[in-house]
Symmetry: C2
């Protein structure tokens, strides 16, 4: 019999990390709709959208409202750690929850007698701190640099796609602005 | 809105770690039934039993069959890492599962062109390795030493309870052995 792993990160974490990596390569001043982000990764838009909203709530992405709006990073990619993205989507509660079972049962001491944290919980917390430290040390900008080095062709393709996607958005926006600034027939 | 943490360890991990810590303090040659272990921690016996079986399958505990049987550690406490206990109960699959979304969508390259692992998955794997390293570095014997130092009264209480529990088992076993070795009336 094989045990099913209980401790696992949801798919939203993978999606959010990749979405931030893509947004970091956006031309300045542009944004991507959740539909465009979903298209880029061939992901189901409604589910992705939920995670993009979590990123916005955490101040990692900014959402620009309106038909030409969309998402962009809210701060420089070098200031967004992978930990921030993971915790935006998955929360920051510890994976190991100590329920103090040492204080139960017939051989337990009166509650006030446990002056130190549970030794087992302490080690579990130390392991999680090590996990967080690794994710805190790497930023979205570091990922961009690694991908640029390891998979330059993929980075080029992504930038070309982004230029088209952002261009389409901008062109449509421009057309709309032109239309609204054009003299309209007077009805008054 | 607060995100619910998806990545969490089940309660069985806490129970199994504490159960191993208690079994490490057993007098030599004795064992504890799952009912006795459940009593010590005031835990529901059927659920605890499931996790004790997982520990046995992983070779961490040995189960001694029969009415006076029970569980004991299968090897010295100094040779059982916390990681071994956690993985026995929770499995060893990675918490972050990379589904290679970089290879999807309109801007992806042909599959053969991705020669390096995904940069995001690499960092996530490095973080999990750091987590595992911390848990691998600490043994059940280390936990015993820490509890002995931090909560000596709790360690004394636990040993006293264990001596009684193991004594009851041994006394019953002795009585049974005496009964079976006593000359029985001849029927032939």
């Amino acid at each position: 019999m094989i045990n099913i792993r209980i401790m696992k990160l949801g798919q939203g974490v993978e999606w959010a990390l990749h979405a931030c990596h893509l947004l970091a390569a956006l031309p300045p001043g542009s944004s991507l709709s959740s539909g465009q982000l979903a298209e880029f990764f061939a992901l189901p838009a409604p589910y992705l959208s939920k995670h993009l909203q979590a990123l916005s709530r955490a101040g990692i992405t900014a959402s620009i409202p309106g038909p030409q709006g969309g998402y962009r990073l809210a701060r420089p990619a070098g200031e967004i750690s992978l930990l921030a993205v993971v915790e935006a989507v998955d929360g920051s509660a510890p994976a190991f929850r100590c329920t103090e079972i040492r204080q139960r049962g017939p051989a337990s001491l009166p509650p006030g007698r446990y002056r130190h944290p549970c030794a087992i919980a302490s080690v579990m917390a130390r392991a999680e701190a090590a996990w967080r430290r690794e994710l805190e040390a790497v930023t979205v900008a570091d990922i961009m640099a690694t991908v640029g080095r390891r998979a330059p062709a993929a980075a080029v393709e992504a930038r070309a796609w982004l230029a088209r996607a952002a261009g389409i958005g901008r062109a449509a926006g421009d057309a709309e602005r032109q239309a609204s600034s054009a003299p309209s027939p007077r009805h008054d």
